[in-house]
Symmetry: C2
Subunit: 96 residues, 2 copies
Amino acid sequence: MKLTELKAIKLAELFSALSDANRVRIISQLIEGEMSVRALADGLGMTESAVSHQLRGLRQMHLVRARKSGRQVFYSLDDDHVSRLFTLGLDHVQHG
Amino acid sequence: MKLTELKAIKLAELFSALSDANRVRIISQLIEGEMSVRALADGLGMTESAVSHQLRGLRQMHLVRARKSGRQVFYSLDDDHVSRLFTLGLDHVQHG
DNA sequence: GTAATATATGAATACTTGCTCATATATTCA
DNA sequence: TGAATATATGAGCAAGTATTCATATATTAC
């Protein structure tokens, strides 16, 4: 398959979004539905700062979306490609 | 989705395999069929050493397979999960 | 045997990344 | 207003990664 350099970079960036165990766990939580930063941090045993930094990257790649409500920010998956990639990858890991 | 720590790490490792533009380009070439290290290097404008190093990682993750023939080593994709991940990701990049 | 070719690999280095810590911004409540 | 809570962000650092260069191994041709 012929691939332009730009597309190769974009693809690599997309997969990079899922190339860290903590990000994978964040995504896995968000597959269930939207969650606040604190809820994610508590659920994953990460600091809020670390979660926030990671969410920033995911946001910039348009993989998650933020919804502000009062002083909380609820994050959710921005499109279903992510969860499809996620489950396909999980498939590979489980019985690949 | 509840995810064990081990599965999160395995998933992240899988996606890490596709988290570099040069590896993405290597995979994109191998989707066409098997190729030697030199052919890959020539086709991608990389040194043979760099390609060999990357192939080593992909091999260790069982994403590519090596077939030795004379003094050449031909690489091919080791399973179709990879190309499915690849094309799903490309889908996202193109009209996501 | 030697020379040439194809690939692999270790060390060194430049670059990237994910975290912590400190601080800033925004919102709610008293 | 001021204190408390939720999130965001920048700097700095430790760990990881991809490359290059030099060298090693393996195969073929002579």
